[in-house]
Amino acid sequence: MTTPARPPAPGEGLLPPLLLVPAAAAIAEGVRLDGLVSPSSPGAFPLIAGAVMAGSAAAIGARAWRRRGAARPVGGLAALLPSRVALVGGLFLAALAAMPWAGFHLPAFLLLLLSVRLLSGRGWLRAALVAAASVAAIHLVFRIGFSVLLPAGVLFR
């Protein structure tokens, strides 16, 4: 059950306190919903879930404490979020954020164009062709083939 191969990631010591946040939220919700009053209340399971989260966060913390100094964390923020991941991830989130206004097609095209260009290191033309073909294929399969709606922007109604 234990595979200790993974070297600790940066900030592993901060993790257990952070894990207590959702645990506390679940416990608070459980108490608000009478989880302590009746076993059949809507709060019972949130309370149990919160307690399990808190308990396992404590266990994770204790284990990290025992292992402290055993191995140095590898790298800093760069190991957590290499620039390639940050860039493509950022593009993805930006495209999603644009969809309520700009609809699906344009942001999706730009996301594909920029990230394919970035990742493949080949020319713009090839990236543009791939992006255009992909968006067209998605439109065909989803909107026309399965008559599923795609996000529609308010700009180009």
Binding site: A49, V52, S56, L119
Partner: protein
């Protein structure tokens, strides 16, 4: 018998079943497009059609769709449907090892065999299975969910504590929204949108699809590499070894599929757990691409299709979400789906049995014929594939119920999943918690309420029921085995 063969001999019904199966495979493979959604669209679409034609397409879409989910699970680590979550656990590692072809081949054969077991159970034992299924009390659903949640033990990765945390987080996330039993909002913090809860498909797409895509970007060498596909049909001795497991998993699938409160997703998870605990010496460890880990869930989820038809055709009680829609379709087409359906329209029963069998044959045909073409996805350069996966994640999530809020959830799950994986958390327990949490919550409370808000009363009732005792014994057995293993 003539009705059994009707769709095999009538060219137009034959073609419709084939078309339905093929479309189903695609619908199943695309996350966000669900069989339930496709079938309910078909109800309007086939409004003016002959009933047999409508049922033929629906049976095809249902069978193909449940199978199709494994395709994207194996090739991309994105389960196309909840029933394929368990398949991704070992199917994707197989593909990364260069055995994408074998994984698809195995999943196709297991699905076919499982589907046929489901049809056989439907044909031979339907009335009896249906009567047993409705005897399952709320407490038995609770016990079944507990049996499922024990899977956390084998899905936790590096530490059990992290697995437990992830599962409990999933349970809490699954509670979000309006509590249907008291109309009390939970974790909504005043938002009306949140009353609808967080769809676990959005979580699944984020945690598996987006987080996996982002992680692959961390490996520069993977960007240029393409995967081998390998041979599709594994050699016979290897196949033969899996037959007993396939049959056991199919049995699990039929049983859980026939229960009105559970479907193929839970069946696949429990079958995976069964394979994991029951296989003494897998050639490859589970989680790293064990063939058993692909065979068991795929057999179970397709067997669950036949299982789901059992209470629907014998009692007019849907076995899962899809058969609920089919009951609606029968109403619209002028039938009276109910306990008398079997005696008043026996031809419908035999037509459905024959039709499902035919759909399974097409599944085998299309599955094996299309496997190589489909597996070419794995050969697309990652530099193109990863951005495309991200776009498909957005499209698929939006398709669930056309909500940008769900898309935002998907993105949040993607980012959180990416980070949690860096700290050694596994994604599967979160989804497991989201699926089983609401079932446990509702059936636990139903059990306690029915016993007059008394825990002792509920325990006494469980002690007096054969079904409950069997389930309790199964749970104790699993726990004992795990304890012995830990000591050894």
């Amino acid at each position: 018998m003539e009705h059994f063969l009707l769709s095999w001999t009538n060219p137009s019904l034959l073609a419709l079943t084939a078309a339905g199966t093929l479309a189903g495979i695609w619908i199943g493979a695309i996350p966000g497009l669900s069989v339930t959604m496709a079938v309910s669209i078909l109800v309007s679409f086939t409004f003016a059609w002959d009933l047999n034609a409508a049922l033929a397409v629906i049976a095809g879409v249902f069978t193909g769709g449940v199978y199709g989910g494994s395709r994207s699970a194996i090739l991309l680590n994105i389960p196309g449907s909840p029933a394929a979550i368990a398949t991704a656990l070992d199917g994707y590692p197989m593909a990364r090892r260069g055995e994408a072809g074998a994984a698809i081949g195995l999943s196709t054969l297991a699905s076919f065999l499982g589907g046929m077991v489901g049809v056989a159970a439907l044909a031979l034992g339907a009335p009896a299975i249906g009567e047993v299924a409705i005897l399952f009390a709320p407490r038995d659903y609770l016990l079944l969910a507990v049996l499922g949640i024990l899977l956390v033990g084998s899905l936790s990765g590096e530490s059990l504590a992290k697995g437990l945390f992830a599962a409990a987080l999933g349970v809490a996330l699954g509670m979000a929204g309006l509590d249907p039993m008291t109309a009390e909002p939970r974790f909504t913090y005043g938002s009306v949108q949140m009353l609808g809860g967080i769809p676990y498909i959005a979580a699944m797409i984020g945690l598996f699809g987006v987080a996996e895509a982002l992680h692959q970007l961390r490996e520069p060498e993977a960007l240029r590499a393409t995967q081998r596909i390998g041979r599709i049909i594994p050699p016979w001795p290897r196949l033969k070894r899996h037959i007993p497991l396939t049959l056991r998993a199919s049995g699990i699938g039929v049983g859980i599929g026939a229960l009105p409160g559970t479907g193929g997703d839970i069946a696949a998870l429990i079958a995976y757990d069964h394979a994991r605990r029951g296989t003494r010496a897998p050639e490859v460890p589970f989680g790293e691409g064990a063939e058993e880990g692909v065979v068991a869930p795929e057999a179970a989820n397709n067997a669950a299709v036949g299982g789901a038809y059992v209470p629907m055709l014998t009692l007019g009680i849907p076995g899962d979400a899809v058969t609920a829609v089919i009951i609606g379709a029968l109403f619209v087409h002028g039938l009276r789906p109910g306990p008398l359906l079997l005696t008043e329209t026996p031809h419908l029963f035999w037509f459905t049995v024959g039709n499902l069998a035919l759909a399974n044959v097409f599944l085998l045909l299309f599955g094996l014929a299309g496997a190589r073409a489909f597996a070419r996805i794995a050969e697309v350069p990652r530099a193109v594939l990863i951005p495309l996966i991200l776009v498909l994640c957005a499209v698929g999530t939006f398709a669930i119920r056309n909500s940008m809020a769900d898309v935002a959830w998907m993105a949040a799950f993607g980012v959180a999943g990416y980070l949690l994986r860096l700290y050694g958390f596994q994604m599967a327990p979160i989804i497991l918690g989201m699926i089983l949490g609401p079932l446990m919550d509702a059936s636990w409370r139903r059990t306690v309420i029915a016993a007059g808000d008394s825990l002792a009363g509920a325990a006494a009732e469980a002690a007096g029921s054969a079904i409950s005792l069997v389930l309790i014994a199964a749970i104790v057995l699993v726990l004992l085995r795990a304890a012995l293993k830990a000591r050894a």
